[in-house]
């Protein structure tokens, strides 16, 4: 009788080798572009000079960190970064869940498709193009939204130079770009819920609102929690495109639009006074804190509900 090769048993070493070869391109790439840069973390502790390179520059301990934390901008950019991220997490979650729940009430299949496609459109444009769209609305002389904004009592002669309205603009534009994406994910989960749950609840006299809250929402919890955990891990980072492109990098707006990532970017791109060491220090700070936060949040979540955790 021919021996049946069971997949569950260990494969031969020859096969292991073949499989390693298959995964080699990815493994190499990740090594070079993800792990090697981790070694570059040492730059955070150096007075980095371009000509001396990573290994030639002088080590200066925590001075880069001190320099950043004592600077005037440190507080502003950190505050901005955290504030925007928290706003996005809260508003984003509320909006995407509510809209998904509402979409679940629409019965006409064509209508659903149209609504989904429209919401999804901005996701496919780069931030450069979105910045153009925003410009079309609020450009000083020609903007389409200017008459509306003026009626709110806000000066439209040069919105790119006046801070107060910008947090709302950025929050709105950020949501505009990603709402379709989040709604589709939530909606797909909702689609998978067995209709018998709803029918049973209706028979028991539950209103639409109650049915949504007690049936739909719990199903959405695992995926929402994962997204929040990931977002917490990125809480000191930002979507660079939003804060750099849409604002046209206008320096007048920095007090409300400058975030850590744009600050670092300018620090390294500044041709006359490039402070690479400090940029690296802040980058390390972001990654490290993000990492620790993910671990903490995930641990808390898995204590509460193992299924909902990231890993």
């Amino acid at each position: 009788m021919k021996a049946k090769i069971k997949l569950k048993s260990r494969v031969s070493t020859n096969r292991d080798f073949q499989l390693l070869i298959l995964s080699l391109p990815v493994l190499l790439y990740v090594f070079v572009f993800c792990y090697l840069p981790m070694a570059g973390i040492v730059v955070a502790f150096e007075d980095y000079r371009y000509d001396k390179g990573v290994f030639g520059s002088e080590l200066i301990g925590f001075r880069n960190f001190e320099f950043f934390f004592k600077s005037d901008s440190a507080f502003t950019v950190t505050f901005n970064t955290l504030a925007y991220n928290l706003a996005f997490i809260v508003v984003g979650t509320l909006l995407s869940i509510s809209v998904a729940l509402l979409l679940n009430e629409v019965k006409n299949k064509t209508a659903i498709k149209i609504y989904q496609t429209s919401m999804f459109l901005p996701y496919f444009f780069s931030w450069v193009v979105v910045a153009f769209i925003v410009y079309a609305f609020i450009s000083p002389s020609y903007g389409m939204a200017n008459s509306f904004i003026s009626s709110l009592g806000i000066d439209t002669s040069n919105l790119y130079f006046s801070p107060p309205i910008w947090p709302f603009i950025l929050l709105f534009v950020g949501e505009w770009k990603y709402l379709g994406y989040s709604v589709i994910i939530n909606y797909t989960v909702l689609m998978g819920i067995d209709s018998s749950y709803y029918e049973a609840a209706e028979v028991d006299g539950a209103s639409k609102l109650q049915r949504a809250w007690h049936i739909s929402v719990p199903f959405l919890v695992p995926i929402t929690v994962i997204q929040i955990i990931m977002a917490v891990g990125r809480i000191f980072s930002s979507d660079f495109g939003l804060f750099y492109q849409v604002t046209r990098d206008s320096s007048m707006l920095y007090s409300v639009t400058d975030v850590i990532d744009t600050y670092i970017f300018r620090a390294i791109m500044n041709p006359s006074n490039s402070d690479v060491g400090m940029g690296a220090a802040i980058g390390l700070f972001q990654s490290l804190v993000g990492f620790i936060l993910v671990i903490i949040t995930n641990t808390i979540v898995s204590k509460v509900n193992k299924e909902a955790a990231l890993y």
Partner: protein, 293 residues
């Protein structure tokens, strides 16, 4: 009217308004690009053009060298990047999905860890620009984003859905892993390949960050970066307008408002066009990924 119908109408109205909020801005760009310049100077931008004028597009294609260069670069990196990326990632996902592979767990962790922690922008920049010497090369545009660990996990989940018996019979026949991959896995994974391939394509097409960091050579400007550069240059000029002598201003060939919008349409156009057709693949890919890859 029954309460149900009122309920339904309200919801539909809500969504119609919501959808318009997405569609109108996009249509505006197109219509502005087709508007007569004088109408804009007089009335400002509007959603519907008062008179149609294709002069902006004529202007762009009259001096097409930069646009053609950028289109060439963008198409090249998008196609090469997408093919290589999807292939390499699929190969790796197969090994991660392969039961009995000795290094499965450790390699999975090796990849997963990079999702939690990274070295930051500066070390990557120093590595790429200085040590790998990739500035102003086409390779940096292709290599950036070649591997995306999320997609690898999505593909892995997909491959895990392929019935074991198929692989088993190939093993009995003595097929090598390479053969199993090329003759079985690839054909069986076409939906996943389509999804991830499209996501990759879209990523490459819209990428402007890499060029911003590493590209100075005009001939290598991808479309999105070209668009951005033009906008930034105009900003700089306008900001300093009052300091420049009149003669200089008149000399300069500043693209008009409509031309800029036309450029945006030309840049975003292809993706916008592709999107509705492949929407269902995109959706499928994302939902699998987000429900724990």
């Amino acid at each position: 009217m029954k309460p149900n119908s009122i309920h339904k109408s309200i919801i539909n109205i809500f969504f119609i308004i919501l959808s318009l909020m997405f569609i109108i801005p996009i249509i505006s760009i197109i219509s502005i690009s087709l508007t007569n310049e004088n109408d804009i100077l007089e009335f400002g931008y509007s959603v519907i053009p008062r008179s149609i004028d294709t002069i902006a597009y004529e202007y762009i294609f009259k001096n097409p060298k930069q646009i053609i260069d950028s289109y060439k670069v963008t198409i090249l990196i998008s196609v090469v990047g997408t093919v290589l990326s999807t292939l390499f990632m699929l190969m790796c996902s197969y090994t991660l999905a392969r039961k009995g592979f000795r290094y499965k767990r450790i390699l999975s962790f090796y990849l997963f860890f990079t999702l939690l922690f990274n070295g930051g922008l500066i070390p990557s920049y120093i590595l790429t620009a200085k040590y790998l010497n990739l500035r102003d090369t086409i390779w940096v545009l292709i290599l950036s984003g070649l591997v995306n660990v999320w997609y690898i996990f999505i593909l892995r989940t997909f491959i895990q859905g392929i019935p074991e018996s198929i692989i088993e019979s190939a093993l009995i026949d003595g097929a090598s892993e390479y053969r199993i991959f090329s003759a079985l896995i690839i054909p069986l994974s076409t939906p996943a390949i389509a999804t991830i391939g499209l996501l990759n394509l879209f990523g490459y097409w819209n990428n402007w960050m890499t060029a911003l960091l590493y590209i100075q050579n005009k001939e290598l400007y991808p479309l999105q970066y070209l668009l951005q550069k033009i906008m930034m240059d105009i900003q700089a000029v306008i900001a300093n307008m009052d300091k420049l002598p009149r003669e200089v201003i008149e000399e300069m060939d500043i693209p008009s408002e409509t031309t800029r919008m036309a450029l945006a349409v030309v840049t975003a156009g292809p993706m916008l066009f592709i999107m509705p057709f492949f929407q269902k693949y995109f959706i499928r890919g994302m939902t699998v990924g987000s429900i724990k890859g």
